[in-house]
Symmetry: C2
Subunit: 441 residues, 2 copies
């Protein structure tokens, strides 16, 4: 593999947009660290990364780079067979982050966080996970850096893919189905009717509360935080290296959005490059119609988890109590979106669209048959949005990039439900969203 293509730096976009950073931070209501919103007891190394507006690039520590080199560079390929099938002049490229042991881009941040927490003296990381991709990544990263790991996984996702639990347990993690009876947050959620569904906000709340039982444990977060977005920029930096080899530049970049880390990971470096080189590139954040925080939510101050213990953030949100229809793409069922990403969206630097589960899985299955990669249901949303735009622009000679954030090898049930016409009605009605947003009135 060509190791020279692997970037040695992360791209810190806060440096490019300090006013947007300030807006997202100053709107925070519950400041618990020198006036800066922060998760409980993050190591200073990670806190600094979330609030650094001075350095355009952050050097990746060698210990993390050594781990990245085990699976990077990740494939960047042209989807020629898909192009032929769609009969389009559009050049479709894709970046594939699913071939590592955890199965998704999440490993990029899990390795970094495990490294920094270990260095700061912690011995145990606790987290909440939706579809299990973040949990798998953190379990593995903790094993690599010698940390204990405890995971609360959203119940509906755990039932859909028990192999995720097996994988996490293989690397020594303890896994609880959320809402669990281990925490008050879980017990409250069960009382409120979330048993057998659960949400990422609840699982996150449980993880945060659970952490307080141990003096040497910390809560680690898989998306949303600026430092997580930073770690994921390894994707976009690598794409820039790969684009340079091919001498092309994209007109549009597609990625799905849960809290925003795989989207930011590919978009931020390309956004910076297109600004500095006067290129015109559109960035499309793709969300499910089941959880449409960007396209139907509001830009306001909200909490990040169900327990309400994390600091408030200014963001696009449907309200932390929003109970998304249980679509297969558990990683996209998060009620809000990263503050900084929300500010970029609010200012028009990125755009958003929403896609139904049916359209998404149809696109994912087509992609697998043409390109030999079975995408995670989450990633399929990005593919579907790209295909929709291609159908609408089939005469144009353009280049696009789709970020395939993970594999779907544990998600066969999703595709079977699609093939057997067993998908749920995933469109939330107006009343449901209105009710959820009413807390902000």
């Amino acid at each position: 593999m060509d190791n020279n293509l692997v970037p040695k730096k992360w791209c810190n976009l806060l440096k490019d947009f300090p006013s947007l950073y300030n807006e997202s931070i100053h709107e925070n209501k519950d400041l618990n660290l020198n006036g800066v919103g922060a998760l409980p007891r993050q190591p200073l190394s990670l806190l600094r990364q979330s609030h650094n507006t001075d350095d355009a690039d952050i050097l990746i520590p060698q210990e993390i780079l050594d781990q990245y080199l085990l699976y990077r560079p990740t494939p960047f390929r042209r989807a020629v067979q898909l192009e032929n099938h769609l009969n389009t002049k559009t050049k479709i490229f894709y970046k594939y982050e699913g071939a590592n042991i955890s199965g998704s881009h999440k490993l990029n941040s899990a390795l970094a966080q495990a490294f920094y927490y270990k260095k700061a003296g912690y011995k145990h990381l606790v987290t909440g996970t939706g579809a299990g991709q973040w949990g798998s990544a953190l379990a593995y990263a903790c094993k690599v850096f010698g940390l204990k790991c405890t995971i609360f996984m959203v119940d509906v996702s755990l039932n859909q893919k028990p192999q995720r639990r097996d994988l996490m347990e293989l690397y020594g993690a303890t896994v609880y189905s959320s809402p669990s009876t281990e925490t008050k947050v879980g017990l409250d959620a069960i009382k409120k009717g979330y048993k057998n569904t659960g949400t990422l906000a609840i699982a996150t709340g449980e993880a945060i509360i659970f952490t307080k039982n141990f003096s040497d444990a910390q809560f680690a977060v898989g998306s949303g935080e600026n430092n997580v977005l930073l770690h994921q920029t390894i994707i976009g930096n690598e794409v820039l290296n790969q684009l340079e080899e091919l001498d092309i530049f994209p007109d549009r970049v597609y990625a799905c959005v849960g809290a925003g880390s795989n989207f930011a990971g590919i978009a931020f470096p390309i956004l910076r490059y297109s600004k500095s080189h006067n290129k015109n590139c559109k960035f499309i954040a793709v969300e499910p119609i089941a959880c449409p925080k960007l396209t139907r939510g509001i830009y306001t101050t909200d909490i990040n988890d169900f327990s309400g213990t994390t600091p408030l953030s200014k963001m696009y949100t449907l309200g932390s109590k929003y109970n998304s229809p249980p679509i297969h793409a558990g990683g996209l069922r998060y009620h809000g979106t990263s503050s900084f990403l929300s500010a970029l969206y609010h200012t028009g630097f990125i755009t958003a669209t929403s896609i139904s589960e049916e359209e998404s899985l149809s696109a994912g299955l087509l992609f697998s048959q043409k390109e030999g990669i079975l995408p995670a249901p989450e990633s399929s949303y990005a593919i579907a949005a790209a295909i929709r735009d291609i159908h609408d622009n089939s005469k144009l000679d353009e280049s696009i990039i789709i970020n395939i954030s993970g594999h779907g090898l544990y998600d066969m049930l999703s595709y079977q439900d699609y093939l057997l016409d067993r998908l749920i009605d995933d469109e939330p009605d107006e009343e449901m969203i209105k009710n959820s947003l009413s807390e902000f009135n």
Copy 2:
């Protein structure tokens, strides 16, 4: 990805060893095609590939190459972290064939066979599969080339990894657990006590018999045949390209052996190269102690399947009725080994060793923690043999290559059984092997 590294030719080693080819063929007793042993009704294109001693290289048709380019070149990397852990001077390289949609090297031949059968006018392929890797590959390849697909999967493996069935069905294949009640072979095997275990020989026998129900169906075989070994040489040819970039040459090459296709795939091109360049390289075929055809079997004429309908082959075998202990590595539970490979082994061009399930899974788990790839239980045998030799030679400054033929993402149960001390006794006693071989007395 660097497409230039992907070979455009397969390496036909029959050209290099015509006398071994003749020996393996002339010993066959049941010749049903112009004096040449052959599976029922294979297309001439494939038959010619199995019996071609004229051409050193076979050009890969563009339609197959287009598919190879979706996942090739596959990773060839140095296992630096494993080296550090083992505290060895030996440079450990590995080739990884598990990142494609089917999860193993089997796709290399499945795509080729589906292409040739389709071209010959067949509409439906039927096969037997052990661990499900061949079945997954054939199901996908049939989808790509528009063929119907029916698969008989060894029961014990199907119970261990139901996701394999899901994957095959996702691509439209019909999957039967073998021994099944669909065929006389299956019914006979059930009567003889093979229910809930099954063997690849039975599954293969069922597939062959089942095929006879349809005029447009054919039986496709995942290993053993010369043309399958040929298709797999894409692996070794690609390794030679990758070695050239690195300017190194291996002292030893390790691969696991079921019927022999992943072993032949990496070994044949390197064997040819080392002969023509006066290099000294040792090729180690690694088999489980549960199914030790090379190290404890005999070199004789035997049938390839349980039904006895396939032509007899000269090979190393434990007898087609050998009922291997149900180890997790279902792909290695085959009673015999490819004729040509057997001849190479008999003549001393390759060597063999056997490994216990416990040693194998321990090595596979270690590899995953150090190198970020979870190997298939089959591939773990090769890793274990390599590590054993390294422990024995830790002072030597050598280079070795391990072929990691597939991923273990559907094999978590294997590793859990290892961790929880639930592995079966996998050493067959002397009596069991003697009984199985008694048919040859």
